[in-house]
């Protein structure tokens, strides 16, 4: 499978085209991408919590 890196901008471009077929295709790719690589935003929140925990442990 050819790997395509998807960004938010790609979604918005697909929306701007108004092409339903294209939009569905991009949505499917994004779903697969998230399934495979995870979501950066939620992972970042988790990371921040862990950083805060570690910082709290410091004397």
């Amino acid at each position: 499978m050819q790997h395509v890196l998807l960004y938010g901008v790609v979604m918005h471009q697909a929306i701007a085209t108004g092409n339903l077929q294209e939009m569905k295709k991009v949505a499917q790719q994004a779903e697969e991408h998230l399934k495979e690589f995870g979501d950066v935003r939620s992972s970042l929140e988790h990371l921040k919590i862990e950083i805060a925990k570690l910082e709290g442990k410091r004397p």
Partner: protein, 178 residues
């Protein structure tokens, strides 16, 4: 002791009867004139100064994939590399499967240097969770900063996907109504 560069240049210019740079220009002309049978498309382009293509388009000097972060490629003159311009993928849909998601600055520092200040590797959930598992606070802070930059630059995929789904539903509803 070395003479300063500007003094050297002045000395060269002051030689009587010699047009400075004349010999070099002829030699350079011979080198830069493309052979019509070898590169007919290059006949149209004759650079003002002798040199390599990288001198004409210095932004292409960095080796490596065209990949996600090379917006400067658009500056390449079509006369110099017409097929490169035509074959270039769109600015967002990046297609560098072998380098994109898995390269880490620590693994490929030379790629990191090509774009200072930008997150070179694209961070994904597993990379972030890997940093958490490592438990190195400094490393975690770095990764967090990179993730923030990435989100600012490229947007959040999950949120954008939600917006896209809403738009799809809206279009489908419209089409059903017709």
């Amino acid at each position: 002791m070395k003479e300063p560069e500007d003094k050297k240049e002045k000395a060269a210019e002051s030689k009587p009867g010699v047009a400075p740079g004349k010999k070099d220009d002829k030699a350079a002309d011979a080198v830069r004139r493309p052979h019509p049978e070898v590169a007919p498309e290059q006949e149209r382009y004759i650079p003002e100064k002798p040199g390599t293509i990288t001198e004409v388009a210095p932004e292409t000097r960095h080796s490596g994939p065209i990949k996600e972060m090379a917006p400067d490629v658009s500056k390449i003159r079509p006369e110099v590399a017409p097929d490169l311009k035509l074959s270039r993928p769109g600015p967002i849909q990046e297609m560098a499967p072998d380098v994109g998601p898995h390269i880490h600055p620590e693994v490929a520092p030379e790629v990191a240097g090509a774009h200072p200040g930008r997150p070179v590797s694209l961070l994904y959930g597993p990379a972030i969770h890997g940093a958490i598992a490592e438990g190195n606070l400094a490393r975690m802070r770095t990764v967090a900063q990179q993730a923030e930059q990435q989100l600012n630059q490229w947007g959040d995929l999950r949120t954008a996907l939600e917006v896209l789904k809403v738009e799809i539903a809206r279009l489908e509803y419209k089409q059903r109504g017709r």
